[in-house]
Amino acid sequence: MLEVVDLVKDFGGIRAVNRLSFKVEENELLGIIGPNGSGKTTTINLISGVLKPTSGKIIFQGRRIDGLPPYEIARRGIGRTFQVTQVFRRMTVLENMFVPAYASPQRRSDREIRRKAMEILSFLKIYHLRKEYARNLSGGQQKLLEIGRVLMLDPKVIMMDEPFAGIHPKLKLEIHGYIREMHREGRTFIIISHDLQTIFTLSQRLIVLSGGEKIYDGTPEGAKEDERVVEAYLGE
């Protein structure tokens, strides 16, 4: 459903992503790993429209989306979270949840939107915080809120940038469980992580980037034995 073809991104003289191509099928759970500076976050930023590719194509459900503004890509069903949590700090949890719902081109009634927000907040077990200002939430709760907010977009693809970085092990397990559950409901995931342990158990398929290029694409088990992957990580 999502296809990246020969994607290139240059920053000044530095090539951050080099002729990257891959496909993501519907309801796949794809992990992307790679050493620092291998182009993982740049790839997500390119797909979500925060950055414009130097060349190459991004095709989503048969249509090109490269060059579209980020809000347009979000509306078409590709949601994302950020490496450093970016919630709307001076808005309540509920208001955070309402933004994507009201920005969406689908017309839903206020009641529907509210019910949906409540459902998601209950699912993530932060319902009791719904009237709190987001800035009063703990770091982990903010992370959950960010996931909830993406769900309000009702996205077909969810891209998560380091969802397990710097959080309590218990919360890590929790988020792990939520991703599994959302995946079971039919959503497609692209997850970037440094946390090899978690990503190996979570993802169905793994792409390894190094120096902006794809050096491996296959099963997580296979990656452990791949020479180039081992070399990329040992050489770091």
């Binding site: 009201y102 920005a103 319902y127 009237k131 907010r149 977009l153």
Partner: protein, 338 residues
């Protein structure tokens, strides 16, 4: 206190203030009525600035310049092209909104201090140009503008006019801000990148905030032109006056319309009340601005009222809808906020 209780307190406060506002011409006379009229004019300007800066996070310094553009458009159309006053007034608002649209489109890529620099530059260009084109505007000597009600001896009609304008404007702004557009404005203020990732067309809503805020500044400017009778560029749009408007909004509470309005009225009242100490009163306002920013970034008057009204300062307006019952049994509906 429960949310309903607070709503009752707010409603009661609003009614008391409304009744007082209507009674003012029976209590105050001539000079003090003038003070009240100018206070309401400032309240409109401060709330239009708050809509842009406090809600949308766009720190523009062009509010007074836009009011000035509206004032001169209206005045010149009435004088040189024999427009009826209401016609000039509407054209003035349109001119301010249009210039606001241009500024909004131009500054999209500028943020933070760049936006402030640009709008200060814009204000100064406008003021200098209006002064320089003295053949048309009579510059510092002042342009004589026809009064809204023929003369100025009886200030009561002016008072009720600006009171009505302010009430209508605040209602419109309030409706806008509690709708989804207000939600988008605030999401842009909080984090543009995240707002865009959530599907908010930030370009469109930033421009919208500029246009709406400019139009209300234009409303204030048009009224001012046909109230004071003699218009000079400096009497509307010099930078220290912009500073006064900002001080009013900050003292009242930058994140709410009620804060901006109460700040404007309190500062304007004190400014007249403290006339005996001369320029020192402006020193006090400047100091108040600095101290409030330093120690109570969310303002003084409005947060204080909220505390008195029993609401936690943190928990602000609950959005428009009533909460439905909790979506599934067993989930605690207990709230942290109220």
């Amino acid at each position: 206190m429960s949310e309903k209780g607070i709503r009752k307190v707010n409603l009661a406060a609003l009614m008391v203030i409304g009744a007082l506002a209507l009674a003012v011409p029976f209590i105050l006379h001539s000079y003090w009525l003038h003070v009240a009229i100018i206070g309401l004019y400032y309240a409109l300007l401060a709330s239009s600035w708050t809509l842009l800066a406090g809600y949308t996070g766009q720190f523009s310094f062009a509010t007074m310049a836009l009011a000035g553009i509206s004032a001169y458009t209206s005045a010149l159309l009435v004088i040189k092209a024999s427009f009826p006053i209401w016609g000039g007034f509407l054209c003035g608002i349109a001119a301010a909104a249009f210039v606001g649209l241009l500024i909004g489109m131009l500054v999209l890529r500028l943020s933070g201090p760049y936006l402030a620099l640009f709008t200060i530059a814009f204000s100064e260009i406008t003021r200098i140009t209006l002064n320089a084109e003295y053949r048309l505007t009579r510059g510092d000597m002042g342009l004589t503008v026809p009064y809204l009600f023929g003369g100025i001896e009886n200030k009561i009609p002016y008072y009720y006019t600006i009171l009505g304008i302010l009430a209508a404007s605040l209602t419109l702004m309030w409706l806008l801000l509690r709708s989804k557009y207000g939600l988008f404005f605030r999401s842009i203020r909080e984090d543009e990148q995240a707002a865009a990732a959530m599907g908010v067309n930030i370009v469109r809503y930033k421009i919208m905030a500029f246009v709406v805020s400019s139009a209300f500044a234009g409303v204030a400017g048009g009224f001012f032109a046909h109230y004071v009778g003699t218009l000079t560029p400096n009497s509307i749009m010099e930078l220290p006056r912009m500073g006064l408007i900002i001080a009013m909004a900050v003292i009242g509470g930058i994140e709410s319309l009620a804060g901006a309005v109460s700040g404007a009225l309190v500062v304007q009242f004190l400014q007249e009340y403290l006339r005996a100490i001369g320029m020192w009163r402006f020193v006090i306002f400047g100091l108040a601005l600095i101290l409030i920013l330093r120690f109570s970034q969310n303002g003084l008057i409005w947060p204080l009222y909220q505390r008195l009204a029993g609401r936690r300062v943190e928990a602000k307006t609950e959005p428009e809808l009533e909460l439905p019952e909790s979506p599934e049994p067993g989930v605690s509906p207990g709230g942290g906020g109220a």
